[in-house]
Symmetry: C2
Subunit: 295 residues, 2 copies
């Protein structure tokens, strides 16, 4: 059995995985000072109790990692830490692998795909926009361990909104949950709308689009066009088999996915037009599943 | 010894490679109807004469290929051909590999790099703009066998020039040899220049830039900015270690490479800013060397 661990800001989700399925689950609270001790202890205790043999432990981590070395997990406050010595206290002979959470989720979605997909990009539309790349069923971490930072592709030359990263016009300035609300605020006075300006979220805006609200539809189109263009660019660079769209914003479902597909078809090069773009299916389980199969 | 073969429109270059060096070379004329027979015959004859053992034959081909199957080599006029049966007539037991010429060249440059580089994108600035991707020292052909078609990244939202591919504003509408001349024509009347309008080429325009010609400098900046932006986008998608710039336009040398670097620094995300961008070194040999190491 393999262990895949998805480390979040408040909880750590531990999955015991066999044949690409999560068989057992544990949840541990995320505590900055004892995180990895807590996790390894919990795993050790569980496998001894259940008399399970495990072959490897993989982590999907919210930050910048390389090998077993953690450069930074800014949301948790962990910096400059090698987890191998900690692992060795509990598991002297087991292989430990890490990647960032977006890459782990990308691999999880790919492994869960019934179509035996070998390469994919996962795009996560949350507070920001993130991504993970898998080629030949292996996560691509990248030379700077920053593969998948596609939220910062230059796409919005109309507004050139300032991004938190220091650049302007980044994909996430318009296609993240934050970006969607920003757009709706900017265009609020130009459309007939029933959206409550004082209580807007990506969800209320895209829900309004489903009811043909003019502002909602305008924002849906704007966001989908930006994503369609970005995917056309990504696909020229890597030519993967499938795109998974995940994250909270993707809960808008078919109306969003279909619009993105429509714009992708418009903007993509003819040689790569038949690309399947689909909603991610696993939600929070993707990270655990992917982390279990990092090697 | 390995055999790496670079198939061009007029000649086929055959390299016999050992320890990442081309030891012997043959050149065969490109004849549409007998191309692969001609090549395998020449290889067989040569190794028998020299008493050489070869372990594999790899091809870099100017078109769309997958496995040993050639979908199309439009410039040569070969379509829908499996080369395995032809190879078997001469070499019943040898492994045959193919990729497109841009990918072969990318791998060749990477293998020739003294810094033990493992991942790279090669960008070829010729009549069009092409590209090849290598990750973990292996060529990435892509799901549609079209990885590297980066000439069609949407970059020039200023002009939205029509591209031959059917899209508008593609990188190659401004950064190819053809694109550079188009730009110079469009801006000719706006700058003081000593460039002869009736005899313009990418070379004359970039040579003029070296002598501080105003039009030449404007075009140099424009092209470099487009490439800097495109590389910033590509790097977010794949996070490779190094970018090689090749093709005829790259003969402009340092003035072009340095300007591209300058714009890359401006437009790249902070996490991937320290990317090395360098002129490709091998010229025509890159394809042969890379083709010899496809597996």
């Amino acid at each position: 059995m393999r262990v895949g661990i998805d480390v979040g800001g408040t909880t750590v989700k531990i999955g015991f995985v066999d044949d690409y399925k999560i068989i057992y689950r544990l949840v541990v609270e995320t505590k900055k000072d004892t995180l990895f001790d807590d996790v390894f202890k919990a795993v050790k205790c569980f496998i001894e109790e259940k008399n399970i043999k495990i072959s490897e432990i993989g982590f999907g981590l919210p930050g910048h990692v390389s090998g077993t070395y953690i450069d930074k997990l800014p949301n948790i406050g962990i910096y400059d830490l090698d987890i191998k010595p900690i692992a060795n206290k509990y598991f002297p002979n087991i292989n430990i692998y890490t990647t960032n959470d977006a890459n782990a989720a990308a691999l999880g979605e790919l492994l869960n795909d019934k179509d035996n997909v070998k390469s994919a990009y996962m795009i996560t539309l949350g507070t920001g926009v993130g991504g993970g790349l898998v080629i030949d069923s292996k996560v691509v971490n990248g030379y700077h361990s920053n593969c998948g930072e596609i939220g910062h592709i230059y796409i919005d030359f109309n507004h050139n909104y300032q991004c938190t990263c220091g650049l302007k016009g980044c994909l996430e300035t318009v296609a993240s949950a934050t970006g969607i609300v920003r757009l709706a605020n900017d265009y609020y006075d130009q459309f007939k709308t029933s959206i409550d300006r004082n209580n807007m979220s990506a969800k209320t805006i895209l829900d309004a689009a489903k009811k043909n609200d003019e502002l909602g539809l305008f924002i849906l189109n704007y966001v989908s066009e930006s994503l369609g263009r970005a995917i056309a660019t990504i696909e020229l660079s890597v030519d993967v088999e499938r795109i998974y769209i995940g994250g909270g914003v993707s809960d808008a479902g078919d109306i969003l996915i279909n619009k993105i597909k429509e714009y992708y078809k418009n903007y993509s090069h003819y040689a790569i037009k038949d690309l399947e773009i689909t909603k991610a299916k696993l939600g929070n389980d993707a990270g655990m599943l992917g982390a279990a199969y990092l090697y």
